[in-house]
């Protein structure tokens, strides 16, 4: 691992990144537990193993910067600043959730931090992210949008349509492809011909490949590209090589028919982004392992409290069912001169 900046002066940032990664892992462990104990409705897709991607990138963003997320979206949501209580409430369909329980895991959004939402249509948010960048350019704002998506989503034609326009119009958008080696139960090689980065380059978009388990490498690259995109040099494309520890979704338990236990073991033991980063932090003397443990313990407590809160929280009233189908329009604005 090579640091982005002077290790001494940036220790706060590093510890924040560490904390955020631990928060994601802890959130997921709790979500998985809720599923296994049948307390969570529906299904969900775990982000564990990919923490360095979301954190490395989102730590390079401000609250005004936007992201779009995916079906595997908890990591992005946490990394972009969401709190556990509202997140767990959403996962459980409770009124205090980020979307008042109407969205659930696959549609969780957090507008206050610029998270435009998870999306249950693979590739479905590529236009949205590009459009957010379009707004910035149109209105002369300097925010940057990051579009997260998986290797599987690169098969969707929409990506090429919007990359073409982003390139033609120099939009401040960064396409972040989380290549975790699989889409559902299929290896990436079987569904992606040629080279993913070359596809972006063919549209004249500068593309990078980076180790998605190395939070510093991800963050260093992200810092640079975000600054350049803010400066009108976008769009950019990043392929982040990573791995998901769990099945495609929480119910995908017997998965040896598509990937070996050895492979999973290798990634967990040799390539875990949190373990790698904690080793670096202690080696560099930024924190002791006791200090890191204390961070983890604090996060665990937070999560426990949030889960308990969410389990006890109330469901939306049934009168909410037909609320929010349409947004209100101020009647005054619909009048002459209004």
């Amino acid at each position: 691992m090579s640091p982005a900046k002077n290790t001494k002066t940036n220790s706060e940032e590093y510890l924040r990144m560490y904390t955020q990664m631990v928060r994601i892992r802890t959130f997921e462990d709790n979500a998985n537990q809720l599923y296994l104990t049948a307390k969570m409705p529906g299904l969900t897709h775990m982000y564990s193993g990919e923490e360095a991607v979301a954190v490395g990138i989102c730590e390079a963003l401000t609250d005004d910067d936007k992201i779009t997320s995916t079906h595997r979206g908890h990591g992005h949501c946490v990394a972009k600043g969401a709190n556990f209580k509202q997140m767990f409430c959403e996962l459980l369909g409770k009124e205090e959730g980020y979307c008042r329980g109407k969205g659930g895991s696959m549609h969780i959004a957090d507008q206050s931090h610029g998270n435009l939402g998870a999306n249950a249509i693979v590739g479905g948010s590529m236009g949205i992210a590009t459009g957010a960048a379009f707004t910035a350019k149109l209105l002369g704002k300097d925010d940057v949008t990051v579009c997260f998506f998986g290797d599987g989503a690169t098969a969707q034609g929409l990506m090429y349509e919007v990359m073409n326009m982003a390139a033609l119009w120099n939009l401040p958008v960064i396409y972040a492809c989380e290549n975790n080696g699989y889409s559902e139960y299929t290896r990436t090689e079987e569904i992606a011909a040629g080279s993913i980065t070359a596809r972006a380059e063919a549209f004249g978009i500068e593309a990078h490949q980076v180790d998605g388990q190395d939070v510093l490498a991800v963050n260093t690259l992200a810092q640079k590209l975000v600054a350049r995109a803010r400066n009108g040099e976008g769009p950019f494309f990043i392929e982040l090589m990573t791995y998901r520890y769990h099945g495609h979704h929480v119910g995908d338990i017997n998965r040896e028919y598509y990937r070996t236990k050895d492979e999973e073991k290798h990634w967990k033991e040799e390539r875990d982004p949190i373990t790698l980063f904690s080793a670096w932090l202690t080696k560099e003397g930024i924190a002791t392992s006791e200090e890191l443990d204390a961070i983890s313990a604090g996060v665990k407590d937070d999560a426990k409290t949030a889960v308990e809160y969410a389990l006890a929280a109330k469901y939306p009233d049934i009168s909410e069912v037909d609320m929010h189908v349409y947004a209100p329009t101020d009647p005054a604005s619909l009048t002459v001169g209004g």
């Binding site: 590529m126 236009g127 949205i128 590009t130 209105l139 919007v162 209100p328 604005s333 619909l334 001169g337």
Partner: protein, 331 residues
């Protein structure tokens, strides 16, 4: 009052609203210098520049998606979809994304967006450039759907659409672009969900959408000559639908024909007819009749195309049947 074409009316509405709100912009294929193949947008790029009148590559799903994202982040896109038939290409962005975002986010995100597109056959444009697909979007909660029936309507409905905080789809009839109607110079807006009674009558109600309003008007004239008094109503927006307005007329005349240019089966006439049947049943002297386009892909050959859509004569003939009680034997 001055008369302008539907095309000019739309152009004026866009120009006025773009002046009013700097977050609005137009996006689509050949919308700038070319002003679209129908020339509806001529002059707008000169006034608002290419940053707000944005030519795109031929990538409908892509620019629709961009519009959704722009709408979610503070802009007000007006999407130009060259032919209504291309709506099939953007259904995911329109129906899975734009229509549902406000609801899925529990009201925290919204998508104030207008999709301008067209409809209408008999232009010899064949099966992929002649469809009237408004029934499809009307079925999806979260979308509003406007169907202007004249230059006047087109301007007023467009202005409301642009100020709406929701995704609105406007279907213009491409055969009406050059049709003129009186349009005031002064600003006006037409509210959504308020049907327009174009002609009062007592014997039968003719409900028409878009250009079928003219068809109904002509049918009413034919019928008037035969002493049948037809009321003609234009719902203006099919979502929201002015159910009360339509029911009122149905209860008054007790006979109704619904005319629409979409395919008849599983189309707009079915919804309107069944709401009236359900809620004005005991006032009706005869079943509500429906007239949509034939359930066939639109044929190219002029010999065939013309018979696929409702005509004034056809509407009048059905009205006579309803008046004469002929349906009793049919049913």
């Amino acid at each position: 009052m001055r008369e302008i074409t539907l095309s000019q009316a739309v152009n004026e509405a866009l120009a006025e609203e773009m002046r009013r709100d700097p977050t609005t912009f137009i996006i689509g294929e050949d919308v700038a210098e070319a002003g679209t193949p129908f020339k509806v947008l001529s002059g707008l790029v000169e006034e608002f520049g290419t940053a707000r009148v944005v030519d795109t590559p031929i990538a409908e799903p892509g620019f629709m998606g961009i519009a959704v994202g722009a709408a979610m982040t503070g802009a007000r896109p007006i999407v130009d979809l060259m032919f209504g038939d291309f709506i099939f290409l953007i259904m995911d962005q329109l129906c899975n994304q734009a229509a549902k975002t406000h609801y899925m986010s529990g009201g925290r995100l919204s998508v104030p967006l207008v999709l301008r597109t067209n409809m209408g056959a008999t232009r010899r444009s064949a099966a992929q450039h002649s469809q009237s697909l408004h029934a499809l979007v009307a079925h999806i909660p979260g979308l509003k759907v406007a169907m202007p029936s004249s230059a006047y309507e087109a301007k007023g409905l467009m202005k409301t659409a642009i100020r709406e905080n929701n995704p609105v789809v406007i279907f213009e009839d491409k055969l009406m672009y050059n049709d003129k109607a009186p349009v005031p110079e002064e600003e006006y807006l037409i509210p959504f969900g308020v049907a327009n009674v174009l002609r009062e009558g007592t014997d039968i109600t003719l409900i028409g959408t878009s250009s079928m309003v003219q068809v109904c008007q002509k049918a009413a004239e034919i019928l008037a000559a035969e002493n049948i008094s037809a009321e003609v109503i234009d719902p203006r927006t099919i979502v929201p639908l002015d159910e009360e307005g339509l029911l009122k007329s149905a209860r008054k005349t007790s006979r109704v024909i619904v005319v629409d240019e979409g395919h008849q089966s599983y189309g707009v006439t079915a919804e309107i007819a069944s709401r009236i049947n359900e809620k004005a049943f005991y006032y009706l002297d005869a079943p509500v009749l429906r007239m949509g386009a034939m359930d066939v892909p639109i044929p190219f050959s002029p010999a065939l195309e013309d018979i696929t859509v409702p005509t004034p004569e056809g509407v009048a003939a059905n009205a006579r049947k309803l008046m004469s009680g002929e349906m009793i034997h049919a049913a």
